[in-house]
C-alpha cells in the first residue's frame, strides 16, 4: 500500500497508530511533542517554583502562595517534546540465511513498524543500517508519518551482506548520533555474546533507552532441513564445520540456539533494556501487537 510492504494493511497501520514509544528516561527533543522533556516548558504538568523575576509572565505567579508567604513565586511546568528515535537494522550477511526464513525481510518490516509508531506519535526517526549493500539510507531525522513511505523505499533496495564487528560498529554509530534518545536495534544477534553485550552496554552507558529486537528464522532455530553429514559454512566468517545431524543433534542445536537467546535476554533485563524475540515462522502482525511491552512500546 503506497509503497509499503504488504504486511502494512490498513488495519495493522491503525493498530500501530494507537501505540507510542515508551522510555524509562526523559530525553530532550528537537521540537514540540508528546514526550516529557527534561526541559521546563509550558505543558500542563507542574514541575517546580522559583522566585519571580521582573519580566516573568505574571500569569504564572502562584497567587495562593503569595497570600501565605507574601512572596512572589512563579510556577514552572514540564516541557513536552518529541522523542529522537534511532532504529538500527543489522544488514550483515547472516541476515540472509537461511533464505527460506526471510530474516532480513522481517527485520525491515520490524524497523518500519517501529518507525511508523514513532512517526505517528510525532517523534523524529533516524534509520541506520549496519553493514549491507545496495540501498542508501539518509542518516538524518525524519518526522511526519508520511515519511514512512520514503523510509520503506530506501530500505527496499538494501541487500544484506558483509561482516562487521558489532561492538565497534555500534561505538562508531554512537559517536555519530550525539543526541540521546530511544534506540531500537533489530538484529539476529548471532555473534559472540561478548560483542553483543559490549555493544548494547555502550548505549546504556550513553543514557540511551534501548530495545533489542532479535529476529531468528524458524528453520534456523530448529535446525530444520539439516540431516546427515553436513558441512556448514559461516555466512560471514566463512568458517567451516563438519557435523553429523540427526534427531538428537538437532535437539542439541536447538537448545544451544535457545540458550544464546536467553543469555541476550537476560543481559537486557539486567540492564533495564527491552528485549523482544521474533521467529519468522510466526505471524508478524500478531507478534508486533502482542510484544508491545517487550518492544518498549505502550498503548
Amino acid at each position: 500500500m503506497f509503497g509499503l510492504p504488504d504486511e502494512f494493511t490498513p488495519g495493522f497501520l491503525a493498530r500501530l497508530e494507537k501505540l507510542r514509544i515508551r522510555t524509562r528516561q526523559r530525553y530532550a527533543g528537537m521540537g514540540r511533542g508528546m514526550h516529557l522533556s527534561p526541559k521546563r516548558g509550558s505543558s500542563l504538568e507542574f514541575n517546580d517554583f522559583r522566585h519571580y523575576s521582573p519580566g516573568d509572565d505574571f500569569r504564572y505567579i502562584d497567587w495562593g502562595l503569595y497570600g501565605r508567604s507574601d512572596k512572589l513565586y512563579i510556577k514552572l511546568f514540564q516541557e513536552e517534546e518529541d522523542l529522537l528515535t534511532y532504529i538500527f537494522v543489522d544488514a550483515s550477511a547472516s541476515m540472509a540465511y537461511p533464505a527460506g526464513d526471510r530474516k532480513f525481510e522481517f527485520a525491515i518490516l520490524t524497523a518500519l513498524a517501529l518507525a511508523y509508531v514513532a512517526l505517528a506519535s510525532g517523534d523524529r526517526v533516524m534509520l541506520r543500517v549496519l553493514g549491507g549493500s545496495g540501498g542508501r539510507v539518509n542518516p538524518s531525522f525524519v518526522n511526519g508519518r508520511h515519511r514512512i513511505v520514503e523510509l520503506a523505499r530506501r530500505l527496499h533496495d538494501l541487500k544484506p551482506g558483509g561482516q562487521f564487528d558489532f561492538a565497534n560498529s555500534l561505538a562508531t554509530e554512537l559517536l555519530a548520533i550525539r543526541r540521546t534518545g530511544k534506540v531500537f536495534i533489530v538484529s539476529d544477534f548471532l555473534m559472540l555474546l561478548n560483542s553483543v553485550t559490549r555493544g548494547l552496554g555502550m548505549f546504556t552507558a550513553a543514557s540511551m533507552d534501548l530495545t533489542a529486537v532479535q529476529i531468528l528464522g524458524g528453520r534456523e532455530l530448529n535446525g530444520q532441513g539439516l540431516d546427515g553429514d553436513v558441512e556448514v559454512v559461516d555466512s560471514e566468517s566463512g568458517e567451516r564445520l563438519r557435523v553429523s545431524l540427526g534427531e538428537r543433534e538437532r535437539a542439541q542445536y536447538r537448545e544451544t540456539m535457545l540458550r544464546l537467546t536467553r543469555e541476550i535476554k537476560s543481559f537486557c533485563l539486567k540492564r533495564g533494556l527491552h528485549y523482544a524475540l521474533y521467529t519468522t515462522d510466526h505471524d508478524f502482525q500478531n507478534f508486533f501487537v502482542r510484544a508491545v511491552r517487550d518492544l518498549g512500546l505502550a498503548h
Binding site: 540465511y97 553436513v230 559454512v233 542445536y253
Partner: protein, 603 residues
C-alpha cells in the same frame, strides 16, 4: 526354496566392505548458515571420530538390504513349482486354407477350436505354440499366460507349403514323449490314427472338401533350337462326381493356351501344350473355382527351361559365334592357352576344336578334329584330305534326322578303333564320329569340323550339330520348385523378392528357406536385374481334401496320461526387480533430501 549356486553366498563377506564403502561414500552436503556458533557444540562426523560407526539410518539398512539381495540373486534362488506345460500344435499347411461349408477356412476353424480348448486349461504351466509347415517349429519361446498364447495363435497364418508328413508324425511323437510336456493339443486337417498317445488331444478340422487341382506345371524345350516351349500340366478332380475343368494358360498376362477336360471322380489327367510362345512368366488357372483356391493356380517361367552353356575352346574362337543363334544355348569361347580345367565348373559342356584337354574334362565334351597324340583320350588320328561317309547308325540320337547324303565333308581325319568310344559315323579310312561315356560323362569326337554353325544355310550339318549338343546336354524336363522345399541361392543373387512383395537377403550357395509362398520369386542380382522363379504347391496329396489319411503318432510311453511337472521357477527376476526398486527409491529420497536442505539454506 533352493539355490542354484549356493557358493555365491560367500559374497556375504562383502558386507564389511559395504560398511567401509558407506563410511567413505557420503560426501557431506555443504550448507551456508547464518552462523556456525550453535554448531560448534555438536561433535564432528561420526565416521571421522575415533572408533566411529556409520549412522545407522534407513539408508544404511536399505543399502545393506540391497547388497544382501544382490548376493541372493547371485546364488540363483528358485522355488519348486508344480506346472502342467502345454504344447499347442496348429496345422498351418496349405490344405488348411481350404474353406469349409461353414464359410471359414479350416485354419480359422482350427484356431477357434484351439482357443476354446485353451479356455478349459487352468494356465498353470507354460504354453508352447508350434506350427507344422513347412517344418514343425515353435513360433516363440514358451508363454507364461493363456493370453499371450492366444495372441501368438492369432498372429499365425497358414502357409502355402504342405506338411512333411513323416516329420510331423515324428514331431508329435517326440512331443508326446517328453516328460516336460503334460499335454499336447494338435489341431489340424489330419486325424490321428489309433492308438493315440494319452497326452495328445487331437482336434480334427479336416472335413472332406470337393476340390480340383493343378498338380504340376512344367515347361521344357523339347527340341534344341526351337523357340516354342512345351508345357505339361497335371490336373486332378478330387470330387465324387465327374467335372469338366477348364485350364487357361497366360504368358505375361496374355492368354496363350486353353484346354477343357472332363475328369471323372478322383481322376487325374495330363494336359500338354506343345508350342507355347515365349514369355517371361506363365500362369495356369483352373476353373471353376472351388474351396481351395491355392491349387487352382500354378506358375512357370521361361527361365526355368534350362539353357545349355558351352565352353568353346579353340585356336579360332570365332567359330563359336554361330552357336549363340541357337535358342537355349549360351557359348563362351576361349583359346587353348587361356583354358584351365577349373573353367569347366561354370558350363554344362565343352567343345574342343582342334584342341584336346590335358586331363579328362569334368563335363560332357565334344572333340572336334583333335590333334594326334592326345594322351587323355588316346584317339588314333589319321588326317585325310577328304573324308567320305560310308555309313552311320540309324537309331542314334546323333544321327537322328541328319541327311548324310547331303553332308558335304571336306578335309578331316579318321579315328582308329577306340577302347571305350564307339563309332557312330564311319568312312573308308575309319570312324568319323565316335561317342562314349566315361566317368559318368558323355564324349563325342568328330573327324570333321561342323563349325561355324550356319543354321539353315547348312541344314544337314546344323541338324547333326544340334543332335550332338542335345546329346551332350542331356535335355529333359526342368523340375519345378515347390513350396516348403528350400533351394540353393544361385550365384550372383543378392536378394529374393517374395510373391508377397517383401525382399529377403540371399547368400549365393546357401539354402534359401523363405519358400512358404506360392508364386513368382524374383531373384535380384547386384545390378537390379531380376530372374523369375516359379514356386508351386504342386502336391496332389495335399490337394486331395476329401482324403486326409490319419497321422500315425508313436510316443515312447503312449499310455502315460498328462502328469504335472515339478520345475524350478527362478526368483532371480523378482530379486533383481526388488534391487532396482530399492535403489531407485533410495536415489529419489537422497535427491529429495539434498534438495530440501539446499532449498532451505541456499541464499
Amino acid at each position: 526354496m533352493g539355490l542354484l549356486y549356493p557358493g555365491a553366498l560367500v559374497f556375504f563377506a562383502l558386507v564389511p566392505a559395504l560398511l567401509v564403502a558407506y563410511l567413505a561414500k557420503e560426501r557431506p552436503t555443504r550448507v551456508t548458515v547464518s552462523s556456525v556458533m550453535a554448531f560448534r557444540a555438536l561433535r564432528g562426523f561420526r565416521r571421522e571420530r575415533f572408533g566411529g560407526w556409520p549412522r545407522l539410518d534407513w539408508m544404511f539398512f536399505a543399502e545393506l538390504l540391497i547388497l544382501s539381495l544382490a548376493v541372493i540373486a547371485m546364488a540363483g534362488p528358485f522355488i519348486w513349482k508344480q506346472t502342467a506345460p502345454l504344447a499347442v500344435v496348429i496345422d498351418n499347411s496349405a490344405a488348411m486354407q481350404a474353406m469349409t461349408p461353414a464359410g471359414r477356412s479350416r485354419f480359422e476353424a482350427a484356431r477357434a477350436k484351439l482357443d476354446a480348448a485353451l479356455s478349459a486349461e487352468d494356465g498353470g504351466g507354460e504354453i508352447s505354440v508350434y506350427v507344422t509347415a513347412p517344418q514343425p517349429r515353435r513360433v516363440a519361446p514358451p508363454f507364461d499366460s493363456l493370453t499371450e498364447a492366444r495372441l501368438a495363435l492369432s498372429r499365425i497364418k497358414p502357409c502355402d507349403a504342405p506338411n512333411d508328413r513323416t516329420t510331423l508324425e515324428n514331431f508329435l511323437g517326440n512331443l508326446a514323449s517328453q516328460a516336460r510336456v503334460a499335454k499336447v493339443i494338435f489341431a489340424g486337417a489330419n486325424a490321428l490314427a489309433a492308438p493315440i498317445p494319452a497326452r495328445i488331444h487331437p482336434i480334427a478340422v479336416g472335413d472332406a472338401v470337393a476340390n480340383a487341382a493343378i498338380g504340376s506345371f512344367t515347361i521344357r524345350r523339347e527340341v534344341l533350337g526351337a523357340e516354342a516351349l512345351h508345357a505339361s500340366l497335371t490336373i486332378a478332380n478330387f470330387s465324387p462326381e465327374t467335372r469338366t475343368l477348364e485350364l487357361a494358360v497366360t504368358g505375361d498376362g496374355k492368354e496363350i493356351a486353353h484346354a477343357r477336360e472332363a475328369l471323372g471322380a478322383r481322376e487325374t489327367a495330363t494336359i500338354e501344350f506343345p508350342a507355347l510362345p515365349p514369355a517371361r512368366i506363365y500362369e495356369a488357372k483352373l476353373a471353376p473355382d472351388d474351396a481351395f483356391a491355392l491349387d487352382n493356380v500354378a506358375y512357370a517361367t521361361a527361365s526355368s527351361v534350362k539353357k545349355v552353356s558351352i565352353l568353346f575352346i579353340s585356336p579360332t574362337p570365332a567359330d563359336a559365334q554361330g552357336l549363340n543363334s541357337i535358342p537355349g544355348v549360351e557359348v563362351a569361347a576361349r583359346t587353348p592357352d587361356s583354358y584351365s580345367p577349373a573353367d569347366l565348373g561354370d558350363f554344362d559342356l565343352a567343345i574342343f576344336e582342334y584342341a584336346a584337354p590335358k586331363e579328362m574334362p569334368a563335363v560332357n565334351a565334344m572333340l572336334v578334329m583333335p590333334p594326334p597324340g592326345d594322351p587323355v583320350f588316346g584317339l588314333t588320328v589319321t588326317p585325310a584330305a577328304k573324308v567320305e561317309i560310308a555309313g552311320w547308325r540309324t537309331a542314334d540320337p546323333l544321327t537322328d534326322s541328319v541327311n548324310f547324303r547331303l553332308l558335304n565333308l571336306r578335309g578331316g581325319e579318321y579315328f582308329g578303333t577306340h577302347p571305350w568310344m564307339s563309332q557312330v559315323v564311319g568312312g573308308d579310312g575309319g570312324a568319323i564320329v565316335l561317342k562314349g561315356e566315361r566317368g559318368a560323362h558323355r564324349f563325342i569326337a568328330t573327324g570333321f569340323n561342323p563349325f561355324p554353325y550356319l543354321g539353315r544355310r547348312n541344314l544337314p550339318m546344323s541338324v547333326l550339330t544340334l543332335n550332338a549338343i542335345g546329346y551332350l546336354a542331356g535335355l529333359g524336363t526342368a523340375s519345378g520348385y515347390r513350396t516348403g522345399q528350400p533351394w540353393l541361392a544361385p550365384a550372383g543373387v543378392e536378394r529374393v523378392i517374395l510373391p508377397s512383395g517383401s525382399a529377403v537377403a540371399a547368400n549365393p550357395g546357401t539354402l534359401f528357406t523363405a519358400v512358404s509362398e506360392q508364386g513368382i520369386y524374383e531373384l535380384a542380382g547386384p545390378g537390379g536385374a531380376t530372374t523369375p522363379r516359379a514356386v508351386n504347391l504342386a502336391d496332389l496329396a495335399e490337394s486331395d481334401l476329401s482324403n486326409s489319411p490319419p497321422l500315425r503318432v508313436e510316443a515312447a510311453n503312449p499310455a502315460s496320461a498328462a502328469a504335472p511337472v515339478m520345475e524350478k521357477s527362478s526368483l532371480a527376476d523378482y530379486v533383481l526387480g526388488a534391487i532396482i526398486a530399492l535403489t531407485a527409491l533410495e536415489a529419489l529420497l537422497v535427491y529429495r533430501r539434498r534438495r530440501r536442505v539446499a532449498g532451505a539454506f541456499a541464499p
